[in-house]
């Protein structure tokens, strides 16, 4: 305890030095927490985007091949499959199915490729809780009223309607109320079209929403001429999303036991499998494919990993500067306090306590300064998030998977940042502390002469 007191008091006595190093540690921890919050925010965007637009926590998709070279996204006897899912996963909260297709939306002044999701409006409370109507400025050039929102999600209950995202509406130059044409290819190779009315334009949900549109189930059934009982995917939402992978494995085992043919697990989104993987496989008939939300957003995980790598590199660089600063400062402190060290050794303090004294000094500095930095970082992140700052640069939107700056400050990230910076601080003091511990007590007597 007395060692702690000496360490703390020495820090207070060297105010300027402590303030300088403390400010540096404060700044680096603050930045670290902001970057971790940004990464958590992007991950959150991915989860929200993936689970709202294209995936449940766990999915049972199906592929049908009438010849080795074709591929259709469908599952048969969907109600039986949903029952199997509920039986295999008692912790499933919501089990729904969507029809899936891939085609082109054609408007008067543009066209885009899109995934087509056939939904039952009443089943999709979670989806619509995450969607908001886009203001006019998101998809229209120079709108008279930029914040104006038009349309109504509930109109998707009407036949031959479509919900677009702002990015698609901008490319199509489409408005709520416009009629657009959906063009797809049926199982038998025929091109089919349907005219649908745009009933709502939603805010973008990152990159994923650029490849998704929503129509009533019947519209997809008509386009593909599906028989009753056919759907595209069963989406299962669990109590705890962290159980997704375990739940997927349990469901795979359950379905295998029930005799369902399945694709090997492949962490790719559905449309890659539909357009590339499955058509290239040499089999015909039907197979199920059980995936998690992470599989469906696998291509976006790379963005998160890249962001993590950049954050880590930046923090490591700054931590290196901190290490050099603390190491140099501690070396000077040891030189200045030779007499104190010698005195302590002479009156009976052992080497390990001297070592501990200097390590503790750095650790106290580290935990106080980085603790303050961590809390400040979390506060700033929360403030930025609350401000919902819009990002107008498209490239940034792709990286952030959102059109607003979304940061999620988490206690665990603050703890990690503080622990890392405190460790770095103490580690930087190790060699100067070792040098201090090696000073012989005779130094005290000599310095007194």
């Amino acid at each position: 305890m007395i060692i702690f007191e000496i360490a703390r008091n020495n820090l207070l006595a060297s105010r300027r030095r402590t303030l300088f190093l403390g400010t540096a540690l404060f700044g680096v921890t603050l930045l670290f927490v902001l970057l971790l919050s940004l990464t958590a925010g992007v991950t959150d965007n991915l989860i929200r985007g993936a689970t709202a637009v294209s995936s449940g926590h766990v999915n049972i998709a199906g592929y049908y091949k009438s010849s080795p070279t074709d591929s259709q996204a469908l599952v048969t006897n969907v109600d039986t499959l949903k029952a199997e899912a509920r039986q295999a996963l008692p912790d499933a909260v919501v089990v729904i199915d969507r029809l899936r297709g891939w085609g082109k939306i054609i408007a008067d002044r543009g066209s885009v490729q899109t995934g087509i999701n056939g939904i039952a409006f009443d089943d999709e409370a979670d989806l619509f809780s995450m969607l908001t109507l886009a203001p006019a400025k998101d998809y229209r050039e120079n709108p008279a009223n930029p914040e104006e929102t038009r349309g109504n999600f509930a109109d998707l209950q009407k036949p031959n309607t479509i919900l677009l995202f702002a990015g698609q509406a901008k490319l199509l130059k489409a408005e709520v109320g416009d009629s657009v044409t959906l063009r797809t290819e049926t199982l038998k190779g025929a091109t089919n079209t349907a005219d649908v009315t745009v009933v709502a334009i939603a805010r973008d949900l990152g990159l994923l929403s650029g490849f998704a549109s929503f129509v009533p189930k019947q519209a997809v059934i008509d386009l593909y001429q599906f028989k009753p009982g056919v759907s595209g995917v069963v989406q299962i939402y669990l109590k705890d999303i962290k159980r997704s992978t375990a739940a997927m494995n349990e469901l795979r085992a359950h379905l295998a036991k029930k005799g369902y043919a399945q694709l090997e697990h492949d962490a790719q989104p559905f449309f890659i499998k539909l357009l590339q993987t499955v058509p290239g496989e040499d089999w015909t008939g039907a197979k199920l494919d059980v995936t998690t939300w992470e599989d469906e957003g696998a291509f976006l995980v790379q963005i998160i990993n890249g962001l993590k790598a950049v954050s880590l590199a930046l923090v490591m660089l700054l931590a290196f500067v901190i290490v050099v600063g603390i190491s140099n400062t501690m070396t000077i402190a040891v030189r200045e306090r030779t007499r104190e060290i010698g005195t302590l050794r002479a009156i009976g303090m052992n080497r390990s306590s001297i070592l501990m004294l200097f390590l503790l000094e750095a650790a106290i500095l580290g935990i106080v300064a980085s603790g303050a930095g961590g809390l400040a970082g979390a506060g700033i992140a929360a403030a930025i998030n609350a401000a919902a700052i819009r990002v107008d640069v498209d490239a940034m939107r792709i990286v952030l998977l959102s059109d607003t700056l979304h940061l999620v400050p988490r206690v665990v990230d603050v703890v990690i940042a503080v622990a890392v910076l405190t460790f770095v601080s103490a580690a930087a003091a190790f060699f100067p502390a070792l040098r201090a511990a090696r000073i012989t007590p005779v130094t005290a007597m000599q310095s007194a002469e």
């Binding site: 007395i2 006595a13 009156i347 007194a448």
Partner: protein
């Protein structure tokens, strides 16, 4: 009276670049328990080197130093540290108090390092010794809030609080005015007489030497007079002044 210190044929060399400088040339010296001994000599004569060797903060190049029956050159660093903590007290010329601790904490420090003493007992011993050296009312002060004499009294309290067998003082009055120096030496002498603690201090001040029971003369790294024929511990020539804070 049995010897607490036996210095036998001690040589101490210090490296100086590629050369070696001999600070002590075969010193023999015996200090008995309860003595109040001065090591006198001019600057550079080897007084401090001798005190360092006796105080187990350094080891001889040749010869042996036996402290309370232990040959110091055969002890490990850990054993020497323990020996200093439990059996030795140090008083330095420049006081060498820990600047960031209060008077109380400075004196408490060796007891905390020793361990095994309860809070109440530790506090009582610290307060008692501070009162004993006449500095009790400055208990919460920092060293920089005290005069030189007051600081040295704190140093004496720190040296004595562990009830050591030997207190070493290196020029304890060198940074004090003559009146304060006299009072400090008087205090040390009084503690020597009342508590039986052995004191060994270096000085080149003749007025200070007058208080010593025995004066060991060192010159050019040799003991030229071990004082055994002169003063004895029981024949101090000056009376000890009453302790008071200055």
């Amino acid at each position: 009276m049995s010897a607490i210190i036996e210095v036998q044929g001690v040589i101490k060399d210090y490296p100086l670049g590629k050369l070696s400088v001999r600070a002590l040339h075969g010193v023999d010296l015996t200090i008995a328990r309860g003595e109040f001994t001065a090591i006198a000599g001019p600057s550079g004569s080897g007084k401090t080197t001798l005190l360092n060797l006796i105080g187990c903060v350094d080891v001889p190049t040749e010869g042996t130093v036996v402290f309370d029956g232990a040959v110091t050159s055969k002890l490990s660093d850990r054993e020497l540290t323990r020996l200093r903590l439990e059996k030795l007290g140090f008083i330095f010329q420049s006081f060498n108090l820990v600047a960031v601790l209060s008077v109380f904490q400075n004196v408490e420090l060796p007891l905390l390092l020793q361990g095994g003493i309860g809070n109440d007992e530790r506090k009582k011993r610290v307060v008692d010794i501070l009162d004993r050296v006449g500095i009790g009312k400055y208990i919460g002060h920092r060293p920089n809030e005290l005069s030189g004499g007051q600081r040295q009294r704190v140093a004496i309290a720190r040296a004595l609080v562990t009830r050591p067998k030997l207190v070493l003082a290196d020029e304890p009055t060198a940074n004090l005015d003559s009146v304060t120096g006299g009072q400090i030496l008087g205090l040390m002498k009084e503690l020597n007489q009342q508590q039986g603690v052995t004191f060994l201090f270096s000085t080149h001040d003749h007025r200070v030497m007058e208080l010593a029971g025995r004066i060991v003369q060192v010159q050019d790294g040799r003991v030229v007079d071990d004082g055994k024929q002169g003063k004895t511990p029981t024949s101090a020539s000056a009376a000890a002044p009453t302790p008071a804070a200055h």
